[in-house]
Amino acid sequence: MRKKASAWLALALGIGMALSGCSSSNSSSDNAKQGSQKAGEKLEIFSWWTGAGEEDGLKALIKLFQEKYPDIEVENAAVAGGAGTNAKAVLASRMQGNDPPSTFQVHGGAELNEGWVAAGKMEPLNDLYEKEGWMDKFPKALIDMVSKDGNIYSVPVNIHRGNVLWYNKKIFADNGLQPPKTFDEFFQVADKLKAKGITPLALGDKEPWAATHLFENVLLGTLGTENYKKLWTGELSFNDPQVKQAVETFKKMLNYINEDHSSRNWQDAAQLVAEGKAAMYVMGDWVKGYFVNDLKLKVNEDFGYVPVPNTEGKFMVITDTFGLPKGVKNPDDVKKFLAVLGSVEGQDAFNPLKGSIPARIDADPSKYDEYGKQTMQDFKTAELAPSLAHGSAAPEGFVTKVNQAVNIFVTQKDVKTFIDTLASAATELKK
């Protein structure tokens, strides 16, 4: 009997504790609510900028904002890893749970327009553009990339160039070679290097997008900007003979890559060029930041750069932009931040550290290094093409499928299967 009584007592106590636990958690959630209402003023900036350089750039931008608006509390909500893929997964669950961050990093183009805008989760920013007089401060082609059906949905902060061929200066000088301007020249150079036992082209496709990055550059070089763009709107079929020609060129290039490509990520592949084990590398210009900041190499001394063969006068654009999600409690604060982000001052605070160039055409070139100055010049005159591998050209779902197809192709080198897979995936690209 006593045992039973004590058990009941224990249960009663347990319930009591549970209840008090509930009540205390109630009050704490009340606090949290009040906190978040207060923190309705807190500005949460969501990005995947956690690496060297990019994090410094973001901090410089936040610092500039806080000097202007000391009353607004800012939270840097960056999610590390995987070139943004982890962050995108976190973002997707937050957006679907109607708990959006105040503003978030998103690549201009399809990732924004076919993703969050199509899902009806973004507020248009036309009034902000007019108020700040931005309509003629960003290139029109760039504004188009962040617009859908006449509305503008985000503010570009930077530009990266995707179609750059990086090369080891010493290897080229020692062998009396010139950086190739066409695919034919590329293969001539590559044959000479291979004969000397040097890996001509570095690739690190442990994460398959790196191979897609190379492929999209070959597509751009073979098809030209207009036709390249038409691929992503379904106006040009993947069964077009030009696409086949590009795939053949891509296939031929794969004969010149390092054998251990699938164990390397993009940084590891860049190292091959830095160490003189490989001669050339096709990658976006974040590589420059890696060479200069992490490996302490010097631009135009240790490494050189030219546009990817056949893509001179073309500019593969990767642009990071920030927008205003629907359902944010402090839209005015977010617009203040976006105004700073889009200002000359903001862009010049961020980009020299990040190693990208400003999206505005009237920024101050003197703040940028040799590479930056030239790229800013090219950006003003070149034809802009959206990058597929980085989500600007087509929706993420299509990109995932292309990455898979490319990953298979790199090993199997089966042109017909590859094109068939691309063509059947492209049926999703409806416009």
């Binding site: 039973k4 995108k88 997964a89 997707a92 679907q96 054998e259 779902g397 898979q404 298979i408």
Partner: protein
Amino acid sequence: METVNITPAEKTAAVPAVRKKRKWTADHWLAAAFLAPSVILIFLFVYGFIAWTGYVSLSNWNSLVPDWSFAGLKNYLYLFHDFRFQADLRNTLVFTVLFIAAVIVLGQLLAILLDQKLRGESLFRNIFFFPMALSFVVTGVVWQWLFNPSTGVNLFLKPLGLDSKWYTDTTILGGFHWGKIEFGIPVAIIAVVVAAVWQMTGFAVAMYLAGLRAIPDEVREAARMDGATEFQLYWKIILPLLRPITVSVIIIMAHISLKIFDLIYAMTGPGANFVTDVPGVYMFETTFRGNYYANGAAIAIVMLLSVAIFIVPYLISSRKGGS
């Protein structure tokens, strides 16, 4: 991804229901009151969400915008026609078989060696068991470096004329065409198996050691009296007595290897031509990168079913044995 959780609470919860009509005493009410919270939570957060995942897998939700319209088995059909998923099934099967076989053989061997009443036994026991304390992510990163073709163990092997490509090898051993893929043993997966075995063998050793200790000395003595050699003693008597342990090891290892994600993700990723890809990695990428939510849910359900093939017979037999 769902886990099949068998908590003690459920097992005991099932008992009162089995009993014949008897008046519920205060004791029963008390037991029910204590169990109710965990039972409700498990039903909601485990089985509820399994059902939800099943529902999503039958829908058309393959973009950022939820689309709940009924798709039938469309997502499953897509998967089973998909090169990557076929490769995943092959890889999981090969990985599971090699991994479990290696863990059982090594686990028994090491446990028997440790059982020889040697000095410093506890030291060795700890050495074997310590890798268990690591996360699969750590194991993955370390073995990725060790097996890196240009920097890892190959630095030792190259002078000997051995130059393995380890997890970057795209060869399929004994390959023949099956669906869209080449079926066989992907060489690259062996490197992953080595890492997984390194981590999990200690667990099997501990279980077998416990099993060996539970065998009374009389059994061995009797066998020796009957003139059995040491080899016969182990082969014909001890190992058969360890069979129940082997069943447990298989169940535990199978559900780890069928759901494996972190080790592969940290160590190799999907691999060239998807030679090291597994459903867990595919599910993560297609759901959270490609926004194919329904496809991802279908992969999760296939994984759940594959684990259920191992777990359910075990549960049924252990319930029979229990009552």
